[in-house]
């Protein structure tokens, strides 16, 4: 079984910051906006290197989204930065009308997504943002799994014409994807080949899926692990190819089961190849204060939950 090495824990938001720094040097059209969270979003370097292309908008996210839409008129490629909660729910109608419906080339970059935001608690731990964003026609939705992938995705979305929601997180997590990768929007990555069950994970749950696959292997269950970094457009073909082989699937995400990756996968299967599926996700609940690890355990979003779900779904195969 293929194994992956953690080259050292790093936060995905720093991957975003590094990607933005690189874009600042390579693409003059890229501009950045931030709503009073420069340090949290790791946008300091871009601000320092390109003050004329950086817009501090203050605690005013609605204005930030509208300004980003306006900046595209004249050829700029705006990257907005704030927490996932304030990047989506707070400004949904601004995104809907001024960005998505108006087909503006805005990159909405959202940190501190999900439970792993930790101690700040449920007011800031959005678990609904993937659903909100994927429902908008024309919106590309990406949820990256580690530092290297987040950096590569940040660079890649600058070349994609159209609105993008890029979701990443706060904590330091294993960094295991290649440093020099090319990020291909909409392309699922098969990380481990297997035959008994497909584990489709996104974001922080990808590493947990790899850990789960190792444990399952020792139990004699061969798990295929797929990293879905792009939730929309979804790589239907990769999902079907795998599930047609394994016959069942576990989806894993740091998000409510409603509106998340799991439901998108379920749709693909229902239309093409119905198969048993288990959902590793939050169960229509808000989060709470705690450390990221405590929260991921309490809400069932770790490798142990994936292992249990895999055992269960294999048992459901006829």
């Amino acid at each position: 079984m293929k194994t992956y090495t953690n080259t050292g824990n790093k936060d995905t938001r720093s991957g975003f910051g590094a990607g933005l720094t690189q874009l600042g040097q390579t693409n003059e059209k890229v501009v950045a906006l931030c709503a009073d969270l420069i340090g949290s979003l790791k946008m300091d370097d871009f601000k320092k290197n390109h003050p004329e292309r950086f817009f501090q908008v203050g605690i005013a996210e609605a204005n930030m989204i509208g300004m980003a839409a306006g900046l595209t008129i004249g050829g700029k490629i705006p990257f907005t930065g704030t927490f996932a909660n304030f990047s989506t729910g707070r400004v949904y109608d601004q995104i809907r009308q001024s960005v998505a419906y108006s087909d503006k080339n805005v990159k909405i970059c959202a940190s501190h997504a999900g439970l792993t935001l930790g101690e700040d608690g449920a007011t800031h731990q959005i678990l609904e943002d993937i659903g909100l964003m994927k429902m908008l026609p024309g919106m590309t939705v990406i949820n990256t799994c580690d530092y290297n992938q987040t950096k590569a995705a940040t660079i890649a979305i600058a070349d994609h014409k159209g609105p993008v929601y890029l979701r990443f997180g706060r904590p330091s997590v294993p960094n295991f994807t290649p440093e020099d990768q090319t990020f291909e929007i909409g392309k699922a990555l098969q990380l481990i080949e297997g035959t008994d069950v497909t584990i489709i994970a996104t974001g922080h749950l990808v590493w947990e899926a790899l850990e789960a696959a190792k444990a399952l292997h020792e139990q004699g269950i061969s798990a295929e692990v797929i990293d879905i970094h792009t939730i929309k457009p979804l790589d239907d073909a990769a999902i079907l190819k795998s599930v047609e082989k394994t016959g069942c699937v576990v989806t894993a995400e740091e998000h409510n089961y409603m509106g998340g990756l799991g439901e998108s996968v379920a749709r693909v299967l229902a239309l093409n190849h119905p198969a048993p599926q288990e959902f590793v996700a939050t169960q229509d609940t808000f989060g709470e204060s705690g450390t990221p690890a405590q929260l991921m355990e309490k809400y069932g979003l770790n490798s142990a939950s994936i292992i249990k779900a895999a055992q269960k779904v294999v048992g459901r195969k006829k």
Partner: protein
Amino acid sequence: MSNTQQLEDLTTQVRRDILRMVHKVNSGHPGGSLGCAEFFVALYNEILDRKDTFDMDGIGEDLFFLSNGHISPVFYSVLARAGYFPVEELNTFRLIDSRLQGHPTTHEGLPGIRVASGSLGQGMSVAIGAAQAKKLNNDNHLIYSLHGDGELQEGQNWEAIMYAAGNKVDNLISTIDLNGQQIDGSTDTVLPLGSVKDKFLAFGWTVVEIEQGNNIEAILKGMADAKSKTGQGKPVCVLLKTVMGNGVDFMMHTHAWHGKAPNDDQLAIGLEQNAETLGDY
């Protein structure tokens, strides 16, 4: 350049267009459209330094953003008569498969529209972004925007108003249509705005007042004054005092025609009060 009579003739024709468009589909917003007819005619025929052809980026020309998108009838009529698309297309307003949606949108590719509007309070932010893009592009042209007075009740405006002053967005002229009316009644009864002038001044804007917002010459003079005040470190706000429903006597000075179309008889009266000048579409 046109003379005042030509602009007034065009305005009369635009009023006819507005009435006929909303009457045909028995929906749309004639009141605010009629109130801003002179402003739009002056803007697109005298004030904007614009190209004849449309491209989204609009580099090297002045740009206009309509924030209160429900007054789409006046916008569409003036755009069509300025040559952005055939005037015959006004026939398709609010019909299925039309580029002339109920509220303006880029989605159907209608030339002249740069952002969707209708959900209120978003246009000033977009205008500020476009103004900042102009500066980055070393493009000395101006950004114009129009907003309803009732629309100022949306909080996003005040984020934008604060930003524009704080960041010296001085290539922006935002006009507020001060007609004192909104859907449910007068702005004073629905949610009092207080002094819009004092508010903009307190936020650090330059304010220009146009007392006769339905008089072409007054508009041209006021907007020239506003233009002369750009480039001085402050955004410019124009307070345009208009009469909702202007030019159709029974529609004037009331909120009743904010979002209501005239019936056949009412249309006939409205058209009688605005005789055909340049030819109906």
